[in-house]
């Protein structure tokens, strides 16, 4: 359930980045407060363990398919929520950077979906509530099952919401939910069973690990409410601002860039260039009704969006963007040529250096 950059909009990515950054700062501060220095290497090595464990598959009885561990809940049980969150965040960062599993801008979404929900929701509110009220393997199993199922359902729901809000995928909310939630129900059950059996194994062989690892975090009352409220506010604010940029103006990003660049000295020559270029563009117009977005008249655009998706595109737009495709291919070739040029230039330079 790693989301990729290509499927999210800048507004959603930015909002989730803001939320995740807030959580990271909060967790780091929390960790500093309870500073148990042993936790630093423990977190690093545990992260590596989850990483390694994710690469070992096991067969799921009766299905013939294989599964692997997600790890968020296990980390929360062993390290406590803030440390587990930071560890999950680092795992997802490494996956994004080295394995192209999820993207850099989508990292906020991914850390939120796979770190926040298991560590800050599923563990304190579900696992701990069930597991702390009694002993026994069955109770741990029930707690782990409930927590990982709910954690993964929330995570999958997050994926769906973020994807639908981004409006890049055509998948409607209902269908996407119907696909994602049952799949993650199954994954959640497997995850819960594996987590419970691991906890059972540790508590039967080395129970002190469980107590020592989560000790300091367990003692303190843990309140997430203020963080949660702050987070929602930050995310809503960022998302709202960004999407307002995007919607108030079809070229919202340009507008916001102009806003950031700000000063008029910069603006006026730019518009002059723009005007000049658009005049050239008009003169060069060979396929006049080119363009997906710009030359659509305002009124038409409005009525189209009102009519909804079915009629969003007039049935026949012959010539539309044949030139666009051509242009895309051309710029690809051009980019290739530039690269080739650099390579030749470089080769000559290094040749000179050698000779």
């Amino acid at each position: 359930m790693h989301m990729a950059d290509a499927l999210i909009s800048p507004a959603v990515g930015g909002a989730m980045w803001a939320a995740t950054a807030g959580l990271t700062v909060y967790s780091a501060r929390k960790l500093k407060e309870e500073m148990d220095e042993r936790k630093i290497p423990l977190m690093g090595v545990m992260g590596a363990l989850i990483f390694a464990a994710q690469m070992i598959n096991f067969t799921i009885p009766g299905t013939g398919s294989s599964g692997h561990l997600g790890g968020g809940l296990l980390l929360a049980i062993l390290l406590g929520p803030p440390a587990a969150f930071l560890t999950m965040a680092s795992i997802l960062t490494i996956q994004a950077l080295f394995f192209a599993d999820g993207g850099l801008l989508a990292l906020g979404c991914n850390i939120f979906n796979m770190g926040f929900f298991p560590c800050f929701i599923a563990f304190p509110f579900i696992y701990k509530k069930i597991a702390s009220s009694g002993e026994g393997a069955k109770r741990i199993l029930a707690a782990a099952l409930a927590a990982s199922i709910i954690g993964l359902q929330l995570g999958a729901f997050g994926v769906v919401i973020e994807t639908v809000f981004s409006k890049i995928s055509e998948l409607p909310l209902g269908t996407f939910l119907l696909v994602m939630q049952p799949i993650h129900l199954a994954i959640g059950i497997v995850e819960g069973v594996v987590t419970a059996s691991l906890i059972g194994f540790i508590s039967s062989t080395r129970p002190e690990v469980l107590e020592a690892a989560a000790g300091p975090a367990r003692g303190k009352p843990f309140s997430i409410k203020p963080v949660l409220i702050a987070l929602i506010l930050v995310a809503a604010f960022t998302g709202g601002v960004l999407s307002w940029f995007a919607s108030s103006n079809p070229e919202g990003l340009e507008w916001s860039i102009a806003r950031i660049c700000g000063n008029k000295e910069l603006k006026s020559p730019e518009s002059g260039v723009h005007a000049l270029l658009s005049r050239i563009q008009e003169k060069m117009a060979f396929l006049p009704d080119y363009d997906f977005r710009k030359e659509k008249p305002e009124g038409l655009a409005k009525s189209e969006s009102a009519q909804g998706k079915e009629n969003a595109w007039p049935s026949m737009r012959t010539g539309t963007s044949v030139s666009g495709l051509l242009g895309g291919a051309m710029s690809l070739v051009l980019a290739g040529l530039i690269g080739f040029g650099i390579k030749i230039f470089q080769g000559r330079k290094s040749g000179r250096r050698d000779g």
Binding site: A6, T24, G47, L104, L253, H274, Q281, L287
Partner: protein, 269 residues
């Protein structure tokens, strides 16, 4: 089992690439990270019915790869195998959005196909930029850059630790998987009970290892901070790198470069 070995080999390869020396390797990591983030934001801000628009942006990852001497085939392979998620979500677009959008002679292309192409273009751009960034920077430099840009220390230390021990535990996990595979006949013993006791043992060893590491670190004077070598200073060429690329991305976003090219070519024909 092979996949574990090869994926660790893969990280090692990226690491090796990042230790080369080239003009792009020497750029200050902070500015490289910022440039790449801006690049991604620009790339994904293109309209979803505009697959051609972001194509010129390819210049950035390509330049990094060529100057940084990162083999194309390596990045291309990673692009192919990574992220089935994108493909599986994007594939729904041609199915769900069938309104014809443009005609190529007798064939009419639906809006869904156009937006599918756009998603895949963005995918290639964003992923190759990230891989190029890491291959010409290396995680150590990125972590120190992040720390100097204000990311909490707990997180950057965690990243470094994780990265260091991925190799150690990865090798251990690969050995265990190989041993399990060699002892299993007809698929027996690959189930959950063996798995959980295997991971459980690995976990216990890991906890012990963490204690040993902590002691060793204390012996060497660890005080909760990891010191990176001498901090790099931002030079003029670094600033030019940032400013030049960001200006180019902005221009490519503001002006529809492929459209002009297409029109110009159409006119010539």
């Amino acid at each position: 089992m092979g996949s574990i070995d090869s994926s660790f080999f893969d990280i090692g390869r990226l690491d090796a690439l990042s230790s080369k020396d080239s003009p792009v390797h020497r750029i200050d990591p902070r500015l490289k990270v910022l440039t790449t983030l801006y690049f991604i934001a620009i790339a994904i801000s293109f309209d979803k019915y505009d697959p051609a628009g972001p194509v010129p942006l390819l210049v950035y990852p390509m330049t990094l790869m060529i100057i940084g001497e990162i083999p194309f085939s390596y990045i291309a392979k990673k692009l192919l195998i990574a992220s089935p998620f994108v493909l599986s979500v994007a594939l729904f677009n041609p199915i769900l959005d069938r309104c014809p959008m443009l005609n190529l002679g007798p064939i009419s292309v639906s809006g869904g196909l156009v937006s599918f192409a756009s998603i895949m273009t963005k995918y290639v751009l964003t992923v190759s930029a990230v891989l190029a960034l890491i291959a010409c920077t290396g995680l150590d430099s990125i972590c120190s850059a992040l720390a100097r840009m204000g990311v909490p220390k707990a997180f950057t230390i965690q990243l470094l630790f994780l990265y260091r021990y991925i190799f150690v535990l990865g090798e251990e996990a690969a050995r265990m998987t190989r041993a399990r595979a060699l002892r299993s006949f007809g698929g027996k013993g690959l189930g959950m009970s063996v798995y959980s006791s295997m991971i459980g043992h690995l976990l216990l060893r890991t906890v012990d290892r963490a204690q040993r590491i902590h002691l060793a670190m204390l012996c060497r004077g660890f005080d909760g901070e990891i010191r990176h070598g001498e901090p790099s200073k931002i030079r003029l060429s670094d600033l030019l790198f940032l400013a030049g690329w960001c200006a180019l991305f902005t221009l490519l976003r503001l002006y529809d470069f492929p459209a002009w090219l297409g029109k110009g070519l159409g006119r010539l024909l």
